[in-house]
C-alpha cells in the first residue's frame, strides 16, 4: 500500500493519457457531502467537496486569511449610500465540460442572476428543485437584504440592497454564493432532469468532478482551463473515512496526504512522527459564557463583572482545550481585522469579585443555573468539564451554580428563547467579518429570540456596530469596532472563554498547504513532491 500511493496512476484508470507522472493528492475527509450543490448546505464537509474545488464566486477569500479579493468579478464599486454594488465580471472564464454537457459560451451575467435568483425567488423554476432549502442564504439574511439584481450588460451586474450592509461583500465570498451555470440549468430543464444540476456539477472551479461513490470516495481532476491557472496537482481524491483514529492510521501509512479533524489526543504523537507535519492556526471562533442580561441578577453590570473576576480562565483553558486554545479577551479572535489588542482582560481575583457582589447587594452570593452544551464543538471541546470548573470557582465567591444540560437542538432552542440564566456556547465565523460576531451575536436585533444569548441590548454598543454596518470604509469600520469592543469589555455580557486553535496534520511530501481560517479544506495551490 505504501508504494502504491507513490505510483498512483489514477488518470490511467480513468482512461486519460500520461498517467505515470500524474500528481495525486489524497485527502481523508470525514463524511459524504449532501450533494454537489453548495447552495443547500451549511456544512463544511459539503463545502470542502463542492464549493471549494468545483465552483467559483464573485469574490474570493485569500487562502489563509479572511481578506476578500476579486474572483469571478474583476472589480466592483459601491454607491455612496452603501446600497448599490456594481460588479464588473471577468471575461473568458470557462465552465467545466462533462459527458452530456459542453458549454457553448463563457461565464457571464446570466450565470450570476441564475445562481442568486434560484435561491432568492420562490417562483424561480429551479427554486424547488432538489428539495430547495437554501438555509445559509436565508440565515445570513440575504432574502431580506436583496432588493434587486440587474444585468446591466453581459459583463456587468448590479445588486441593490434594502439597507446599507458592509459585510455584504464578505457574504458573496461564502459557499452559498457559488456561481452555477445558467446554460447547463436551461439544458437540464428542457431535458426534464433539473436535479442533475445538483448531482453532476458544472462550475468554474479549479477541479472537475470525475466520479463519486457515496460513503467511499470522490475523484476530481484539475481543470486545465481554470482562470487562475491549472492546479499544481493533477488529481484530487477524497477518501471518505468517518473515524478520526482511522484517518490518522491512513495518514501514518501514507494512504492519504491530508486528513480532516484530528483527535486532540493524537496531536502529541503527530508532532513526533517524522513523516507528518502538524500545521496550526488560531481558528475564527469564540467560546463564551453568556449571562442573560434580562434576568436578575445579571441585569446588574457589577454582577457580570464580579463573575468575570471570579473564574480562573487560564486554568480552564488548559484543562478543557488541552493546549489547543488561547484565553479570549475580546468577543472576536485576534486574527480578525479590527481586533482591539489594547484591551486588558479581567484578571482572576476572587476578592474583587466578592467586593463587587457585595456592592451589588449579594454579599452572600446567590444561586444560578449554568447551562453546558451536550456536544463537542470546535470552540469548546468539553462544555461539561468547563461548567464543572466554573462551578467550583463560583463556589469560592459564594455563588452556587447548578449545571443544566439538554439534548443539543433542545439546548439551542431553549437558549434562543432565553430560558437560561447563564449558558455556555460559541460561534464559528461565517465570513470573517467582525460584524458576524459583534452585530450577529451582541446587537439589539438578535437580542430577542435570536443569536444574542446574553439578550444584551445596550444602545451605546449597538449604535457603534450598526454604524459600522452602514459604511463600506474599512478604516472607519475598524475604528468603530475597536470602540465597540471597549464597551463590551466594560459591560461584560459574556465571560469570553477561549479561541480554539485549528490543527491540520499533513504528510511531509505535501507542499504549501494552508489552513483556511474559515475551517475549510482547500486544495488549489497545494503541491506534492
Amino acid at each position: 500500500m505504501r508504494s502504491s500511493l507513490l505510483v498512483l496512476g489514477l488518470t490511467l484508470a480513468l482512461g486519460c493519457a500520461g498517467a505515470a507522472e500524474a500528481k495525486t493528492l489524497i485527502y481523508c475527509s470525514e463524511g459524504s457531502p449532501e450533494g454537489f450543490n453548495p447552495q443547500f448546505s451549511t456544512s463544511g464537509t459539503t463545502f470542502d467537496a463542492t464549493s471549494r474545488p468545483l465552483y467559483g464566486r464573485l469574490v474570493e477569500f485569500e487562502r489563509d486569511t479572511t481578506k476578500i479579493g476579486p474572483g469571478l468579478a474583476e472589480s466592483w464599486t459601491v454607491s455612496d449610500d452603501g446600497t448599490v454594488y456594481t460588479f464588473r465580471l471577468r471575461r473568458g472564464v470557462k465552465f467545466h465540460s462533462r459527458a452530456g454537457f459542453t458549454p457553448s459560451r463563457d461565464f457571464n451575467a446570466d450565470d450570476v442572476l441564475f445562481s442568486f435568483e434560484r435561491a432568492w425567488k420562490s417562483d424561480h423554476p429551479y427554486h424547488k428543485v432538489s428539495g430547495g432549502n437554501y438555509e445559509y442564504f436565508n440565515s445570513m439574511g440575504m432574502a431580506r437584504l436583496l432588493k434587486s439584481i440587474v444585468k446591466v450588460d453581459d459583463y456587468t451586474v448590479r445588486f441593490t440592497l434594502t439597507a446599507p450592509e458592509a459585510p455584504f461583500i464578505a457574504n458573496l465570498g461564502m459557499d452559498f454564493a457559488s456561481i452555477l451555470s445558467a446554460e447547463y440549468a436551461d439544458k437540464m430543464l428542457v431535458a426534464r432532469t433539473p436535479e442533475k444540476v445538483d448531482q453532476e456539477p458544472i462550475g468554474t472551479g479549479p477541479f472537475i468532478l470525475v466520479a463519486y461513490r457515496k460513503d467511499s470516495d470522490i475523484r476530481y481532476r484539475a481543470n486545465p482551463d481554470y482562470w487562475q491557472g491549472k492546479a499544481k496537482i493533477d488529481d484530487l481524491v477524497f477518501a471518505i473515512t468517518p473515524d478520526a483514529a482511522v484517518r490518522y492510521a491512513k495518514l501514518r501509512v501514507g494512504e492519504c496526504h491530508v486528513m480532516a479533524v484530528p483527535n486532540p489526543a493524537d496531536l502529541d504523537s503527530m508532532r513526533r512522527d517524522p513523516n507528518i507535519r502538524l500545521l496550526s492556526q488560531e481558528g475564527l471562533n469564540i467560546g463564551y459564557w453568556a449571562f442573560n442580561t434580562t434576568k436578575k441578577p445579571f441585569d446588574d453590570k457589577r454582577v457580570r463583572q464580579a463573575l468575570s473576576f471570579a473564574v480562573d480562565k487560564k486554568a480552564i483553558v488548559e484543562a478543557v482545550y488541552l493546549g489547543a486554545g488561547t484565553p479570549a479577551t475580546n468577543p472576536i479572535p485576534p486574527t480578525i481585522w479590527s481586533y482591539n489588542d489594547a484591551l486588558k482582560d479581567y484578571p482572576y481575583d476572587p476578592d474583587r469579585a466578592k467586593k463587587l457582589l457585595a456592592e451589588a447587594g449579594y454579599p452572600n452570593g446567590f444561586e444560578t443555573d449554568l447551562w453546558a452544551m451536550p456536544v463537542s464543538r470546535a470552540y469548546n471541546p468539553n462544555a461539561r468539564r468547563m461548567a464543572e470548573l466554573i462551578q467550583a470557582d463560583l463556589a469560592k465567591v459564594g455563588v452556587k451554580a447548578n449545571i443544566v444540560q439538554y439534548e443539543w437542538t433542545e439546548y439551542l432552542r431553549r437558549g434562543a428563547a432565553g430560558e437560561h440564566q447563564t449558558m455556555l456556547l460559541g460561534w464559528i465565523s461565517d465570513n470573517g467579518d467582525p460584524d458576524n460576531f459583534l452585530h450577529t451575536l451582541l446587537g439589539c436585533d438578535a437580542a430577542k429570540d435570536g443569536t444574542n444569548r446574553a439578550r444584551w441590548c445596550f444602545k451605546p454598543f449597538d449604535d457603534l456596530v450598526v454604524a459600522a454596518k452602514r459604511t463600506p470604509d474599512i478604516a472607519k469600520r475598524t475604528e468603530l469596532y475597536k470602540q465597540a469592543q471597549i464597551v463590551f469589555k466594560e459591560e461584560a455580557p459574556w465571560f469570553t472563554v477561549a479561541h480554539s486553535v485549528t490543527y491540520q496534520p499533513v504528510r511531509k511530501e505535501v507542499i504549501d498547504y494552508k489552513i483556511s481560517p474559515l475551517g475549510l479544506h482547500v486544495f488549489y495551490g497545494v503541491d506534492i513532491q
Binding site: 500500500m1 505504501r2 502504491s4 505510483v7 498512483l8 496512476g9 489514477l10 484508470a13 480513468l14 495525486t24 489524497i26 463524511g31 459524504s32 449532501e34 450533494g35 451549511t42 456544512s43 432538489s130 428539495g131 432549502n133 438555509e135 436565508n138 440565515s139 436535479e195 445538483d198 466520479a211 461513490r213 457515496k214 460513503d215 467511499s216 470516495d217 475523484r219 481524491v237 477518501a239 471518505i240 473515512t241 468517518p242 473515524d243 483514529a245 482511522v246 492510521a249 491512513k250 501509512v253 494512504e255 439538554y406 439534548e407 443539543w408 437542538t409 433542545e410 439551542l412 432552542r413 434562543a416 456556547l425 460559541g426 460561534w427 464559528i428 461565517d430 429570540d449 435570536g450 443569536t451
Partner: protein, 336 residues
Amino acid sequence: MIRFILTRIGLLIPTLIGVTLLAFALIRLAPGDAILLTAGERGMDPERYALLRHEMGFDRSLIEQYGIYLGQLALGDLGRSAYSHQPVLTEFLTLFPATIELTMAAMLFAVVLGLPAGMLAATRRGSVFDRATMAVSVAGYSMPIFWWGLLLILAFSVSLGWTPVSGRLSLTYFVEPVSGFMLIDTLISGEKGAFLSALRHLILPAVALGTVPLAVVARMTRSAMLDVLGEDYIRTARAKGLSPLRVIAIHALRNALIPVVTVIGLQVGHLLAGAILTETIFAWPGVGKWLVEAVRRRDYPVLQGGVLLAASVVMLVNLSIDLLYGAINPRIRHAR
C-alpha cells in the same frame, strides 16, 4: 411445503408493519430536531422554522404522519433522504452489496474456523486444546468491535503494513460498479491486481466483524457435538467399526448441525448490527455506516426505510434457515 412457505411469508407482513411502527415511534421519541440541527448556533427565525416544518410534514399529528408514511410504503415509496435528497431505496440498493459482501466474508471466517474448532474441542473434551478454544471464544465473544477493529488496524496495517487501513479497494484502481460486490466487479473489470486489492481490503473488517460469530459458532458446535456424541447411534456406529473420522464427520456432525445452523441464522441479525460499527471504523460504504450517519443527522426517511429493509432481510434469512432444517436433517419435515 408450499403452503408452509406461504403461511410463513404471510406472517411476515404483520411483523413488518410492527417494525415500521417501532422504527417510526422510536425515532420520534428520541429528542432532537432535524430542522434546528442544520441551523446550529445560527438558529432560525420562527416563520422560516414553521415553513420548513410544514414542508417536511412535521406539523401534522404523529398518527397522520404515520398514516401518510404507510400509504406511501404500500405504493413501494420509501421516501427520500432528508440529507442527500436521493430516494431511500436507491441508496439502500447501492450500499447494500457492500454490507452483504462484508457479512458473508465475516460469516465465512466464523464458520470455517468455528466449526472445526468446536468439533475438535468436543472430541478432545477437557484437553488443553479444548480449554484454550473455549477461553479464546469467551474473549472473542466479549470483544467490543470498535476497539477490536482499531487494534487490528494498528497491528496489521500500521505496524506490520500487511493490510490496507480502510476502504474497499486501493484508490489506484477505479472499477465501475456492476454488481456492487467488489470481489466480483474487480474480476469483471479485468484490471490486474484489483481483485487482490479488494481481497486484502476485505480481510480486516471481516475478521473484526466475524470474531463474535466465530466464538458463538465454536461454542455451539462444541456443545451440540458433545450432546450427540453421547447418543446411542454413535456408540453403534463405533461398534460397527467405522473409522473415527467417519463417525464424527457423518454421523455426529450432521445431527449436531441443527442447533449450529439456527445459531448461524440468528447471527445474521447480529452481523448486521455489528456491521454498523465495523463499517464506520473501516470506512466501508455499506448500510451500517449509512444508518449511523442518518441517526446523527436525524434523517427520518433513511432511518425508517433503512430499519425496515434491514429487518426484512433478517426475517427472510431466518425463514430460509427454517427451510434448511429439512434438507440437513430428514427427520424434520414441515407439516403439510
